[in-house]
Amino acid sequence: MTRKQTPLRPYFEKMADIGKALSEGEVRRSQENITLVQEQEQILALEVERVKNAGIPAKKIHERGGMTIYDRLDYLVDAGTWSPMHTLYNPRDNEEGCTGVVNGIGKIEGKWAVIIGFDNKVMAGAWIAGQSENILMVTDMAKRLNVPLVWLTNCSGVKMMEQETVYAGRRSSGAPFFRHADLNHLGIPILNGIYGTNPAGGGYQGISPTILIAHEGANIAVGGAGIVGGMNPKGYIDAEAARALIDATKSFKAKDPGRVETHFDHTAYFREVHDTEKGVLDGIKDYMRMMPAYDPTMFRVAVPAPPRFPAEDLNMILPANQKRPYDALQILARLTDSSEFMEYRPDYGREVYTGIAKIDGFPVAFIGNRQGVFPGYPEYANGTYPAVGGKHYRQGLIKQAEFVTLCGRDNLPIVWMQDTTGIDVGDLAEEAELLALGQSLVYSIEQTDLSMMCVVLRKGTAAAHYIMCGPQANNNNAFTLGTPLTEIYVMHGETAAAAAYARRLVKEDEAGNDLTPTLDKMNQMIQDYQEKSRPAYCGKTGFVDEIVSLTALRKYIQAFTGANYQNPKSITPVHQMLLPRIIKG
């Protein structure tokens, strides 16, 4: 008789239950919280809608018989798997209201890919400010997750009127071509569906991927055919020069270079040419079926199962009031398979939890801040003050660094759940070595070759935002999510105002002066901090890769996990894992 099972079944099949159903009282008193969360979601939804409507109306593209980038993605990506990224990203506040590329993670033909395409409604996919940073974040994501990058190229090249914002510089629009070379070098394939006219920069967008599949009307070329004039000896355009330009343009008959008859028939750069836009996407799907991917059975430690509690509870559990504590494991219980968690050293470093959970049956590590007050802790304070959740203390920092190191050994991808106000400060904290221990955690992260994702549930503050694998962890952080309750700043606005103006207040007070002007400045600063830390601002500036609703968090964690286990570069045999044994003791 054949018998089969998942590995280390005694450890993973049934782990410790966490969480509990919300009581009637909790539900009753949380209704206002739901409203506050929904208010933020509405603000974000309007912003997303604005970005989707950027450029010319979709109707115009449809009237020409074309597809928008959103139509293309809708056709290409497996239903229910699209997890958009960088939707609101627009760090230079472009007049277009976006960076002209649409991207995210999704499955194509059952396999995870990082997917990006030019928004052909926005200046025919021109290079605009902030776009190259957006693309670099995307190529980094494909590199970190080791999954194919899929491009839908439709790029008219530099927006001429603003070339100085895109063309030159270390991380400018040329950098993605080097990233494509890097991905190819690392064995990460890039599939490219090519539409429309792609001259110059667009040409390199076209040629730099691994597999090129073209629409019949597409071209890729070193330069466009549209430049009918150039510099003239006068150094300016006068009526005579304008007349010459008009005549030349009128008589200009040349076709765009690099068309299908060149790059399919002659050079054979294009693997396929399709006479329909959907045909190109079908070609991408065909190649996606060829991409390397393990069957999930290879790495699953249990049968996938949803959490035992509804995701909608999250809108009641996570307080919009940033000064309110909550039970962090109640959050985790709405994210992990069967609401189970194998916690590592729960009695040590109580301000953070560390441990292993299952996501879609795959083992995944979680690290997060606990909230509330911890009397009698930290031990080095000798009772002079209690620990508060969200802050980091000696034991918690040691525990996290130790856990990350062991995750590296066991090849466990890590999900960080940040809601942090910083690391403990003061002489006692310095004597307790918190400065070095914070950096030790950074060192531990960097020493692994693990993929990590970070969720800034509410606060991402001070150095703690960095050490908990914030987006600054360039080599490990695949992406960072914010929520409708996220706030990211170096410190709370009130703390910052006090730090900046306390001495001045003393001075004015001693001089017997009116304090109102200083108080006005302090309150203005608090307001400014508030406006520049809210979720939409975090998304626009790139503090996070995407703001997602609390109910969508598990979907992104599933995408992260599935992508990690699709084609891992390094494998720890499950039966040789150390962490589950250490936890069991």
Binding site: E24, N321, K323, P325, G372, V373, P375, V388
Partner: protein, 70 residues
């Protein structure tokens, strides 16, 4: 009878009930403030507030009785 005690050293920031109020399990009764954090104190049973032993602004220690519900 249930005596609601302070879990921490802190200050009474807000008292949300009055003597004679009917309360239900998990109703918010008192909000303490400590270390810039709010710590809400919830009713542990259905009943009537029979005694409030603190007033807003009071400093309280861990274990101090705040409210009595009968």
């Amino acid at each position: 009878m249930a005596e609601l005690t302070s879990p921490i050293n802190g200050k009474v920031w807000k008292i949300l009930v009055a003597v004679g109020d009917k309360v239900e399990l998990d109703d918010e009764m008192v909000i303490l403030e400590a270390l810039k954090m709010e710590t809400p104190i919830y009713s542990e049973e259905n009943g009537t507030v029979s005694e409030i032993r603190v007033k807003e602004g009071d400093a309280v220690n861990e274990g101090d009785v705040l409210v009595v519900v009968t």
